[in-house]
Amino acid sequence: MSLLAIQEDFRLWLTTETDDANLRLGGESAPGLAVYLNNYRGQLMACLTASYPMLQAWLGTNAFHGAAALHVDRVAPSDWTLDAYALNFPGTLIELFPSDPEISELAMLERGLDLAFVGEDAPATDVGALGNLDWDRARFNLVPTLSTYLFATNACAIWSAIAVGSEPPPAVLLDEPVCVALWRHGLTPMFRTLPQLEAIALEMAREGRDFGQICSSIVEIAGPSDGLQWAGEYLAGWLQSGIIQSIES
């Protein structure tokens, strides 16, 4: 049996537990095959458990383990880093719990925070060193860990309650989907739900529009007085919370 054939049979045994592969690798005379199978599944289950502690708290241990075991049955790991195995768990949850969207959204939030935790380093702008910028023409380089999600439920409130050990609120569908921004400030992953106007402004900043264009769009929606004030507040918030890496003007 060639090395490649052995390795293909091992893959089959671990992912499908087929009798043919088992027999070719030694069958009953090879009790170690069960050890390798147990190790394989145990590693993947442990990876999902470690990656989604909030989700496990929300679902309960039994339901979480059931979902994780089904994910292990369906999805074989392909990346060299075990952490990557946890990334597509939300996809399985969408299929498993179509009527409970807060479950996959809670998972997406945990996944996003994990990704931000090890994302590319980028010192945030030193607010004190901004000098005399031409703000109308200012364009923003946002930190590389910034990502945004559109959530239909109060998954963020559920996450926040579990994180501080409080009783989480019941899951509810929001009147309108809400934008969630997620990034890392220094070494700490963070998230925040954004008002609709701020979400529009942040998306424009990501697209490379200058602050003058952003202000114009906000004013068009909110009127000259409120629009300018809000645009200024959004900018101040992005600077203070480390969303902006640098500013060009």
């Binding site: 091992f10 390798y36 090890v118």
Partner: protein, 276 residues
């Protein structure tokens, strides 16, 4: 490489605060980290490793190179590892005599190899490639195994041929020797006599668990007496090496591991047992 034995610990999350404490230095000669945990873009893990590296030499120990893959190594993995090597300037770079990936499937386990000429050619080809990318020799660790294929040579003959052909060194895991010896019915002392002693740069010490039919390499217990006996026999045959306690699960307070490391120090300092 060393004038005397060096003694270290695997750096694990529960002990990060101990190793970063500015008012106390953990009494070890080096630490070992799992390479893949730090092959990331940035953030806290790399920051911690940089700070630990300022205080201790660091060995990079990998679990995902898959040195025995029949279809070769992943270029993106090697590039990531090279970047970490350049940043950390490690004491050693090591991985296992095993395979974990074939095609797009990565088992994340250290799966066994047949000890055949074909597998030896494959392993040597992959080690050559890795050493070429990394720019330095690697250490390859003997695995624990729960399955032995019909082969053309023993594991120790395989290791000797591998070292001769690639110039790599050995990370000798004495717990793995013991676990595989019990599981497959060979004599650990015959194993120690067969390996190229001059190639051993590092030793792992760990504990294991008894499964229904086999010993399992769980790294969740103190080093048992039977493994200390293999360690004693190994130390008698080797020159100065880097000795390390490897604990991955059920991790106790740091002080317990330091006591275990002291036991290793004391045993390594005894006169040769064969001369006693």
């Amino acid at each position: 490489m060393f004038d005397t034995h060096q003694f270290g610990l695997g750096l694990r999350k529960p002990h990060y605060a101990d190793f970063l404490d500015e008012h106390a230095t953990v009494p070890v000669d080096f630490v070992e980290v799992i390479s893949e945990n730090f092959m990331v873009d940035g953030g806290r893990p790399l920051e911690i490793l940089r700070r630990v590296r300022e205080r201790h030499p660091v060995a990079l120990h990998g679990v995902s190179m898959s040195i025995g893959s029949a279809d070769g190594l992943r270029a993106d993995y090697l590039e990531r590892l090279r970047a970490l090597v350049e940043a950390i300037e490690p004491l050693f770079i090591s991985d296992h005599l095993s395979w974990s990936r074939i095609g797009q499937f990565n088992s994340h386990d250290l799966l066994p190899l047949p000890y055949t000429t074909e597998a030896l050619d494959c392993v040597c080809r992959n080690i050559h490639e890795a050493q070429s990318v990394l720019g330095r020799p690697m250490l390859i660790e003997n695995p624990s195994s729960y399955l032995a294929f019909a082969g053309e040579m023993t594991e120790w003959e395989f290791l000797e041929a591998m070292c001769d052909r690639t110039g790599c060194g050995l990370l000798l895991d004495v717990n793995n020797i013991y676990v595989s010896a019990v599981n497959h019915g060979f004599d650990p002392l015959a194993y120690l006599s067969g390996i190229p002693a001059g190639r051993v740069r590092q030793i792992h010490l760990a504990g294991h668990s008894a499964g229904r039919e086999l010993l399992i390499d769980t790294h969740d217990k103190p080093v048992p007496q039977a493994v200390w006996a293999v360690f004693d026999a190994a130390i008698d045959r080797l020159g100065p090496v880097a000795v390390m306690i490897e604990r991955d699960d059920d991790i106790p307070p740091l002080v317990s591991l330091l006591e275990e490391l002291d036991t290793a120090r004391q045993r390594a300092a005894r006169p040769l047992r064969s001369a006693a």
